[in-house]
């Protein structure tokens, strides 16, 4: 079942050189991105994968309320202007087109209630 991803915790005893006190390093391993957050296959999906997965997983995208391509364009511009995502104008247009088609107000599925466009 892909929903059940599991990570792990490791506690390593480490001997400090200066004091002979036993200290601990704590580490965890995070599971991979969850399959339910995968982008729908449609023309343009590759451009979205290339430009929209460096800072966060795609469940950020797929769980949002449905808005049209024009309003998705606003969200893509936010990633560029507010968070400095390095995305060309041409790619930004393809991304908004894809998002408007796959996760737009006409797309169906997922969260249906009308959304307020975000600037």
């Amino acid at each position: 079942m892909f929903g059940k991803s599991r990570g792990a915790v490791v506690l390593l005893p480490v001997l400090l050189a200066a004091s002979s006190l036993a200290q601990t390093v704590k580490s965890i391993r995070l599971p991979d991105d969850n399959a339910l957050g995968r982008l729908k296959p449609a023309p343009g999906v590759e451009v979205v994968r290339q430009n929209c997965t460096a800072c966060h997983s795609t469940d950020y995208i797929v769980l949002q309320p449905r808005i049209d391509a024009q309003h998705w364009e606003g969200e893509v511009q936010k990633m560029i202007k507010v968070y400095g995502a390095p995305i060309s104008d041409a790619d930004a247009r393809s991304i908004s087109d894809y998002l408007g088609r796959a996760y737009g107000s006409e797309a169906g599925g997922g969260k249906q209630a009308p959304a307020r466009p975000k600037r």
């Binding site: 929903g3 390093v25 965890i28 599971p31 460096a54 800072c55 309320p65 997922g110 969260k111 959304a115």
Partner: protein
Amino acid sequence: MLPRESWGGASGPTGAETDPALVGRPLVRYPEKADLILLTSRPPQLETPRRYFQRAITPNSAFFVRYHLFPIPTRVDLGTWRLNVAGEVERPMQLSLEDLKSKFETTKVFAVNQCSGNSRARFVPRVFGGQWGDGAMGNAEWSDARLRDVLRAAGLKPGALQVTFNGLDTPAAPGVPDFIKALDIGRIMDDPDVIVAWEMNGQPLPMLNGYPARLVVPGWYSTYWVKHLSEITVLDHIFDGFWMAKAYRIPDTPSGGIEPGATPTRTVPITRMKVRSIIAWPENGSRVPARRPVTLKGVAFDGGYGISEVYVSSDRGSTWNSAQLGEDLGRYSFREWSSTCTPARPGTYHLMVRAVSRVGESQPLEPLWNPAGYMRNVVEAVHLEVV
């Protein structure tokens, strides 16, 4: 009248069957965590299932997880981790966890940690952002050093105005602003319960809840509770970083709400939590037999005055009966409530809950709205099918 768009209980492992906010959200298991409801994988954001809110204390393993940036710390070496105290202070300090434990008096406080955007998925019109159900909150007993003692040890210079807090999480790209939050000096020095915590519920913090130490700002939304705390900087001016000046702001109106769909003219940073109550049991849509008592359970809390009353209605809000309150764990804590009713006849019953704080603040019957989806606290309802 039943409030629009209010969803109380949930059924099934996540509640997705009766709660649209949880559709498409699997249960996942992360290190040191129980099965929680996934919001996002990277950075991990995990929601606490509703059934945990029958009890005043949220177990560490079930406590929700919120991050803004990726990468997050997955490995911390206490041999090298230091809490740096710098800026407008007489004696900058680099404190190890041992220093914190040995040099400062320890204190404990039960306090609710609730994300500003808890329940954002229920806003109408819908708003962008983390589409949380109601489980981006939890209550724990936090312990350790008072922040004001730490600042006094460093010695505040006369011009000190604000203090900023930074953690070990760092932006993935240079354009992403680091997650840094600020509090006024007065908020810290006047309140002995603002603490640097390295224990929750008597245990070291789980990694995903901020190991080895986090800020605890009782009564205020989680955005100030900086995790993996590593830098405390005293400023002689007002901090204007992104996460204070641009994000986590609410309309500057008495309620923090505006006309649904409108744009606020002026905004201010979000601070104190609104009074709220949750029906954790029974699950929404439960079938129960007529003429048998049903016990409703949940928790109530507010932004630091404490809960004085919780009322329950079984007739869409025409009449309200006092619920029984559980032990008082202090003014910042979840307060358990319970109420037993016996439905006389078969049919659909709408059960509603409403808390009142010690200063008389209560919950609205109509949800307030703002564009960021913050501070939801509308009266909740669950429906029961009595057969």
